[in-house]
């Protein structure tokens, strides 16, 4: 098993990206005949070396199936899967330079923490001295030196999590797969482990493929995110791209709070369009990658609540300009750092404006008031139909 030791802190510069995992038209069907279930359909994606790549989606979207295909626990029904340039279809999990952190850790209960961490090295028949040295280094890396002789049942959930990480990192895989590793932890521990994971990824320089259904986790930790639904990847991009430029209704709805409006395309270029909003205002809007719409078509556009502000609301900047929508205040919900003002637009569509709370604590507009809404530049995103 030739697994070259990844060089720490050698994350390649953005210009010099090397592809680590190349997935082409991968599909997976479970069962056959009438009971066949297509868990993955024609998934194509390439993951760069040293990248923190997240597969995000609701349960049953195929993200875990994709992870298990990369790990080798399942074999694909079709398509190609290359790791480090080598086709791995047909190879078992013990023949792939890939290690997994399991959802419930799957630590060996009959072995000590140190034995768990050293298991992979032992199976690879590395010399005893090297094994001891690596296990010690891994224990230090995850700050578990004091627990080396404990059994997995004698340590806490967060500690088990760290041991599972160390065990998977010890053989120095090219790729580390993480299957919802934080879902069993409570909120505070989860936050701690998020930064811990990020630190480990930067320190080791190993490619991380992370599976989660938690959009916040995906946005805060990842270099890139692939949003999945019903066995397909709907959109791949940086967290900013996914959040600000959702290509798809599902993506927009799944990540963050969003306003959906119907609009008519008036004019169109390669990347932008001019659309007419319900109130009659004409605005420049971003087109999704691949375009796919034409002048005169009715499309759905999304506007994030924090990209909108109430005109004349002193807390939200200039009072005069850019009113494009108008509606009536239905209710306000206080969230601490901000307040969500729920409006009903003149055509009946609901619309939410997020209003930053300041020390001045200006009260939100009272219910029933007629207000106008202005939008930040580039706030309007056209969705794929």
């Amino acid at each position: 098993m030739a697994t070259p030791a990844p060089k720490p802190a050698s994350t390649p510069a953005p210009g010099a990206r090397v592809t680590e995992i190349e997935i082409g038209a991968l599909s997976k069907t479970f069962g056959r005949g009438a009971q066949a279930f297509r868990a993955l359909s024609d998934v194509s994606v390439s993951i760069n070396r040293g990248e923190f790549f997240t597969l995000l989606g609701p349960s049953g979207c195929g993200k875990t199936t994709l992870l298990r295909l990369i790990a080798g626990f399942e074999q694909p029904s079709g398509g190609t899967l290359r790791i480090g340039g080598r086709e791995v279809a047909g190879l078992g999990p013990n023949q792939r330079p890939v290690n997994t952190v399991f959802q419930n850790y799957a630590l060996f209960p009959h072995m000590s923490v140190a034995e768990n961490i050293g298991f992979g090295l032992r199976m690879q028949r590395r010399p005893a001295a090297e094994r001891r040295e690596t296990v010690d280094r891994m224990l230090r890396l995850v700050r578990m030196e004091a627990m080396a002789d404990r059994r997995p049942t004698q340590i806490s959930g967060g500690q088990q999590q760290r041991v599972a990480l160390a065990r998977a990192l010890a053989p120095q895989p090219r790729v580390l797969l993480l299957d919802e590793p934080l879902s069993a932890l409570d909120l505070k521990l989860r936050k701690e482990m998020q930064s811990e994971l990020k630190r480990l990824q930067l320190e080791t320089g190993i490619t991380f493929v992370f599976v989660t259904h938690d959009q916040e986790e995906a946005l805060t930790m990842s270099d890139r995110v692939a949003v999945m639904s019903e066995g397909r990847i709907l959109q791949t991009g940086t967290p900013e791209e996914i959040y600000n430029r959702p290509a798809d209704r599902f993506v927009a709805d799944f990540i963050g709070d969003t306003n959906f409006l119907d609009a008519v395309v008036q004019d169109i270029t390669a990347t932008h369009a001019v659309v007419r909003l319900p109130g009659g205002a004409r605005l420049a809007a971003n087109l999704p990658a691949g375009g796919g719409t034409a002048a005169g078509a009715t499309v759905t556009v999304v506007i994030r609540p924090e990209h909108a502000r109430l005109v004349g609301d002193s807390a939200d900047g200039p009072a005069d300009e850019g009113a494009v929508l108008s509606g009536q205040v239905e209710r306000s919900v206080f969230f601490g750092t901000d307040t969500h003002v729920h409006l009903r637009l003149s055509d009946g569509t609901p619309f939410v404006v997020r209003r930053q709370n300041t020390a001045a604590a200006t009260p939100p507009p009272e219910i029933g008031r007629e207000v106008s809404v202005a939008l930040a530049g580039g706030a309007v995103q056209v969705l794929r139909n």
Binding site: A71, F73, N94, T100, F102, H110, F119, M123, A168
Partner: protein, 312 residues
């Protein structure tokens, strides 16, 4: 703290209920005392008495029966004493056959239990049900059925001869082989059931984790599956070994008169031998053998287990 509060909330009711719980075990206790401890005491007392002429015992204290368990006297000169080789051979055969049966059951039982444990959840009850079917028929009838298969004019030999593979029947009846086949068949479910119970609890992700960490199939079996299902092996081995060492019907029917086991030797003393004290002493010897083997086994096999439990 929470525990203290709840117990303080119902201070009177709890101790009172606890006080009568032992009554639930009374029926089992009564049966144990009447059917196990009582007869055992009688057997112990009989082993120190003198045999009656037509069976039974004469109430006169004697250690002769215990002496005869291990030694025999010369027919012409009772003062000439030698080891009772016939008895020692039977002890050895019993222990050896019981051990072999246990090993055969373990080897056959492991894949069987694994097969059941890896079936879809809703079909497992069916497979377990199949395992228990042999219990429905009388042991003697099942043993005679095996005889029909392996005797000289039985199923195997007639088939082999008709196919021209052998000229003369292969002698299988009245051999240790026949006894082993019979005992392995009878006691196999006692190995499969505890093994299945242990495998049922085995988390399949531990096996995946093993493969993920570069273990081969053999290494996954040896380093992960076997250590984790060991409690099933221990329970199954005890359940098979104990009845094997005292097996009576199987060696009698399949082993014939020459391949006696301890159970047959004891039966002989109470029957044709008309030496009840010797039978009683032999029965006590077997009890000591079984208990000794058990203690040795649990200590030896339990050792590695203890190392694991020391912390937990």
């Amino acid at each position: 703290m929470a525990i203290k509060q709840t117990s303080a909330a119902t201070p009177a009711a709890v101790p009172e209920r606890h006080g009568h719980k032992w009554l639930l075990s009374a029926p089992a206790l009564i049966i144990l005392i009447l059917a196990a401890s009582g007869p055992l005491l009688i057997v112990l007392v009989y082993s120190f008495l003198t045999p009656g002429n037509f069976g039974g015992v004469v109430w006169r204290f004697s250690t002769e029966a215990w002496f005869r368990v291990f030694f025999s006297r010369d027919i012409f000169d009772p003062e000439v004493v030698s080891l009772n080789h016939a008895h020692l051979a039977i002890f050895w055969r019993s222990v050896s056959l019981a051990l072999q049966t246990t090993v055969i059951c373990a080897i056959l039982g492991f894949p069987t239990a694994w097969f059941i444990a890896t079936r879809p959840q809703h079909t497992r009850a069916f497979w377990l049900f199949l395992i228990t079917i042999p219990f429905w028929t009388n042991l003697l009838i099942r043993t005679f059925a095996i005889q029909e298969v392996i005797r000289n004019q039985g199923l195997i030999n007639t088939t082999l001869m008709r196919l021209g593979l052998t000229d003369a029947p292969i002698q299988m009846m009245y051999t240790d082989f026949a006894i082993l086949v019979g005992m392995a068949y009878v006691f196999l479910p006692l190995m499969v059931l505890p093994l299945y119970a242990a495998m049922d609890k085995l988390d399949i992700r531990l096996i995946e984790a093993g493969y993920d960490l570069y273990a081969s199939r053999w290494q996954v079996l040896r380093r992960i599956v076997l250590p984790l299902v060991k409690p099933g092996f221990v329970a199954g081995s005890i359940l098979v070994f104990i009845p094997s060492i005292g097996a009576f019907v199987t060696p009698r029917v399949l082993g014939g008169g020459r391949n006696m086991m301890l159970g047959n030797l004891i039966e002989l003393q109470f029957g044709q031998g008309r030496n009840w004290p010797l039978g009683a002493a032999l029965a006590m010897t077997m009890l000591v053998l079984v208990v000794g083997a058990l203690i040795f086994y649990i200590r030896y096999v339990g050792r590695t287990e203890d190392a694991g439990r020391e912390h937990g």
